[in-house]
Symmetry: C2
Subunit: 198 residues, 2 copies
């Protein structure tokens, strides 16, 4: 049976790096940016649109979302993208073992018994420093990015799933990457997946 | 340096059993009911009062709490108990390595770098079956207990700490005991504590 690990993450927590390292250790692919290309091909939307709208609450807020234009099927562009994304994620999980970072993959695969859903987080101060260092920007700019990105990811997740972003009960395990370290998180995820496969 | 593991848990998730097993494996004491005795001795309150009021939101709700009688120091009985409980937990952690189950120990020890704070949870259906089986009661009665106990623990935690009960960001790791199994949770907790001590 395919082994699937999905990773939701706070911005700057190292979730993407952890996902890549877990996939490398297990010898399976990690889908992150690659997923965007597949969803763009499936949906017909531009890559930039998929990247922005497929995980982040639209700038216009979900309140005004209620009033935006819809097709004859009653669905907005955002809804079409959501379904296309879900379809791509489900097909990937059926095809092969893999790690999927972001894009509410945990929700898309909620009926997969062999799927391990993780949430990676860390203290905000740690994440701001990490983002500033990695992107070579000021801490004040990094702080804005961290705040905005988390808020948008949370709104998108809470709107499209019936779960709550960041609440431990939405996942199978949640790990503090500051406390445990990146390598520690990789170890624990692989251990969890091992136990889950037994 | 002492190694402290605190366990917060949803009712029926097996958190208490996991705490005991982790402590046995590490050869250190596990404080759960024993903590109640120590807090009773410290505070002068009866054990039954400590057991009920030291982890559960009072039946009268925290709204009416605003109007209850207080001593000359402006503190209610609940507040006195909270401080006595915190003192006992801090003293335990200074004295020896141990596992502490419940009682907002994660918050009392938030300044301890060598403390690992875990949250154990599971799907409600699983917990209801587990409680009904363990206590030999009907599933309908177990369901009431699960709902009420979780609600009271959450209210107490949210009121006395500045964190949110069950939100992964309140802990260092959170584990789904249904998905991972009791033994799996024990393994993961010991592994986390090991990494944290390195």
């Amino acid at each position: 049976m395919n082994q699937i690990i999905t990773i939701s993450r706070q911005f700057g927590s190292g979730g993407r790096t952890i996902g890549k390292m877990v996939a490398d250790r297990l010898g399976i692919p990690c889908y992150n940016k690659e997923l965007i290309e597949k969803v763009a091909a499936e949906s017909g939307y531009a890559k930039a649109y998929v990247e922005e709208e497929g995980e982040y609450a639209p700038r216009k807020s979900f309140f005004s979302y209620s009033f935006i234009g819809r097709g004859q099927d009653g669905l907005s562009n955002e809804d079409h993208l959501w379904f296309a994304q879900r379809k791509v994620i489900k097909e990937l999980a059926e095809k092969e073992s893999c790690v999927i970072v972001g894009r509410c993959a945990d929700y898309a695969l909620s009926e997969e018994p062999n799927c391990v859903n993780a949430f990676i987080y860390a203290d905000k101060t740690y994440r701001i420093k990490r983002v500033a260092h990695e992107l070579g920007i000021s801490e004040s700019k990094a702080k804005d990015m961290v705040n905005r990105t988390d808020k948008e990811r949370a709104s998108y997740y809470n709107f499209y799933t019936n779960k709550k972003w960041g609440d431990s009960r939405s996942y199978d395990l949640a790990l503090n990457s500051e406390k445990l370290g990146i390598d520690g998180c990789v170890d624990m995820l692989i251990r969890f997946a091992d136990i889950n496969q037994q």
